[in-house]
Amino acid sequence: MADTLLDIRNLRIEATSYPPGEPPRDVVLVEDVSVSVGKGRVLGLIGESGAGKSTIGLSSMAYGRGGVRLTGGTISLNGRDIRLANAKALRALRGREVTYVAQSAAAAFNPAIPLMDQVIETCLLHKVMGRAEAEARAVMLFGKLGLPNPESFGRRYPHQVSGGQLQRAMTAMALCPKPDLVIFDEPTTALDVTTQIEVLAAIKEAIRDTGVAALYITHDLAVVAQVADDILVLRHGKRVEYGTTAQIITAPVEPYTKALVSVRSIEHVEKADAPPVLQIESVTARYQGTPFDVLKSITLDLPAGQTLAVVGESGSGKSTLARVITGLLPPRQGQIRFAGRVLSPALAARSRDDLREVQMIYQMADTAMNPRQTVGTIIGRPLEFYFGLKGEAKRQRVQELLDQIEMGKGFIDRYPAELSGGQKQRVCIARALAAKPRLIICDEVTSALDPLVADGILKLLLALQAAEGVAYLFITHDLATVRAIADRIAVMYRGEVRRYGSKTDVLAPPYDDYTELLLSSVPEMKLGWLEGVLESRKMAAAGN
């Protein structure tokens, strides 16, 4: 093709792994991947973590993170093979022909330098244009990306602007030197859903207006379907399927792609009402030394053996609610009733039974387990603490619990580092279950997991609920998860409950403004969804 910009052939990428206690060995991260991007086209790279999407993305700048080595194949950019180019040649193309937008803009901007200096740095370094021209272009891009006060925005430091704004500034930084190709590495994954849609729209418009080609890396097929012309599905460093966006979404061929497309298809019918196990009564709370309430008079009920999903964006107060229920943060007003009795506001004053009956599972299973304890010790601890089990009896019960979380025999003597992300979360579930609780608070337990793995965890939670009759308070920002698991839903916004009721009631119109915004912002796996939403929002705004 005459207009091919990037042509990757039979790419092989390796790294050296250093497993503890074993000699170092080479591992293959990417094997035999071929793909090409035409000028002005957008290619989506999709796959779960470890699929090699970022590694492939960065290889188009011949960059290997850490000890990653590009060991085979060709990477031709603008007609020349860059895989083995020398450092000087690579510096000349990085930031000039290819630029990069990182997942966490908050970490990817230098905290000590004003935004404008960082945004125009490549323009000056590669002598694309002079300072005045570069600044004018940056201001133009700030405006195009919908940043507030584009004229003065660049004078701010990274900590002075929000995460969504930083992500847009990073896009402006990538577009400023007029590159041929931009690599977007999960640019909206760290954002709230309502922010994501805005950033996504801004990125899409910027790509279209500047005519730049792009690699768009994400694990969310619904997101990539909105921006990409073609999609490459990856798994374990190998190509699974490669086709146009329309073909991948509507007519996937490979079983793995089909699974990705149909993910989040759990059908959960809400249960009939039951007497409440948890009653939150006009709870108001604030953190010490801060002047405002994080929770404002929250009243919610959770029926026994059911799931109450608490939905909201970051800063809405949903995790604080969990802290109040567990007693980590005593409320200023209001009280928590559990199985009819009033729980003491402070953790220290609660009885051992109070503690046992309310358990927690966290977002980061990694940090919620002691890395130096085996799975058996981790799950055995509550058995010993609450029920006094020891020795063989304890081991037997641990094995029962492992069977319940579908992990079987071989795991009891393993360490957390030897488990996958989904397995770690399962161990945390087993540990919570070991206490025979009546309520488990699940704080974003699936957010750090790949979609298919997350699906498995949700199915497990539902099965355990049916078997044990345990209630879940399920904190999440992800509405698809809510649909899959909730009996009741509370929508939180800035410390208040905006909407509360059974799942059917909450998810049916008429909506309040915030719930409407939240629901309509969830990406749907169909072509043209983004345009549709933006169009209807524009119409609604014009109507008002």
Binding site: L58, L93, R94, A102, A107, F109, L125, R156
Partner: protein, 318 residues
């Protein structure tokens, strides 16, 4: 008021409070020693009457608190008291000595600080490769040798064997600046060698720590050269730890140079202190102790203030 200004004023106020506390400790420490100044002057065989007379004359019969505030009041008005051993005004004697010490320290600092930071940056740039190992090896061996050994080695080679510089760092009032520099060049070399390693290692460690950040990858992906990445993107974020170590070493250059001054017979504060400790000249010991404390506290406040000013989150609040 700008929050940074508030913080800086707070630090300075705290520093003054600390200095005040230190003055009390010094005074108490000296007062707790057996015998007093009158005893020291008149010796063991003095009659009680003579002692009482001298005490009354010197105000030593006053309560300790009164004496303390008299001493403190004197210091605030520039009167550090009178030396026992030679009956001279301490302020005048110290003035000249302090000038000499600061002259030596300033030249050592002017050379060692930029050199240490530069070497630290280069070592970080070639982390684990031969330039890093060479720099670390050389600076660590110079810090491992006691100062007097370094001093005598330098003396032996540069002054005795090759006769490049004078062996004794004689300075006197009215000396020209070039003569003065020529005189202090050997002690400056020794001091530089002594403080270099600490500052270099800290710069290297702070830079390597920052190099793990995501924004360093951003800078690399912009096509910046490694040295430019370090200088422009890593160093501004490594200033705070580096400044703290630099200030500690500067303080050492002022208050810790006794050995070097003795080796080179340099008329600075260190020698002055050693001489008068030997003679049990308590007013001098008190005065010098307070000045050293003031230098230490002052430099540490400066380190704090620079760290505050180097932090964009404090400089530009939301």
């Amino acid at each position: 008021m700008h929050p940074v200004l508030t913080l800086v004023v707070q630090r300075i106020a705290l520093g003054l409070l600390l200095l005040f506390a230190v003055s009390a400790v010094i005074f108490l420490g000296v007062a707790a020693l057996p015998g007093d100044t009158a005893q020291a002057i008149l010796g063991q065989s003095a009659t009680p009457q003579a002692l009482a007379n001298l005490r009354a004359e010197m105000g030593l019969d006053q309560p300790a608190l009164t004496r303390y505030f008299n001493w403190l009041g004197g210091i605030l008005t520039g009167d550090l008291g009178t030396s026992l051993s030679n009956r001279t005004d301490i302020a005048t004697a110290i003035g000249q000595r302090l000038g000499n010490t600061l002259f030596l320290a300033a030249w050592a600092a002017v050379i060692s600080v930029p050199l240490a930071i530069l070497l630290g940056l280069v070592a970080a740039r070639y982390n684990g490769r031969w330039p890093d190992k060479l720099i670390s090896g050389v600076t660590l061996s110079t810090i491992s040798l006691p100062e007097f050994v370094v001093g005598y080695l330098v003396l032996y080679f540069l002054a005795v064997k090759w006769q490049l510089f004078p062996s004794v760092a004689m300075v006197f009032p009215g000396m020209g600046i070039m003569e003065r520099l020529n005189a202090v060049i050997l002690p400056v070399i020794v001091l530089v060698l002594v403080v270099l390693a600490h500052m270099m290692r800290m710069t290297r460690a702070a830079i390597l720590n920052v190099m793990q950040s995501a924004y360093i990858e951003t800078a690399e992906l912009k096509g910046l050269s490694p040295m430019r990445v370090i200088w422009r993107h890593a160093f501004p974020n490594a200033v705070a730890p580096v400044v703290n170590v630099v200030m500690l070493n500067l303080a050492y250059l002022v208050v810790g140079v006794v050995v070097v001054e003795v080796v080179f017979v340099y008329p600075g504060m260190g020698q002055y202190l050693v001489d008068h400790v030997a003679k049990r000249d308590l007013p001098v010991v008190q005065a010098v102790g307070l000045i050293f404390a003031a230098v230490y506290i002052g430099l540490n406040i400066m380190a704090d203030v620079i760290s505050i000013l180097a932090n964009p989150r404090l400089r530009h609040p939301k």
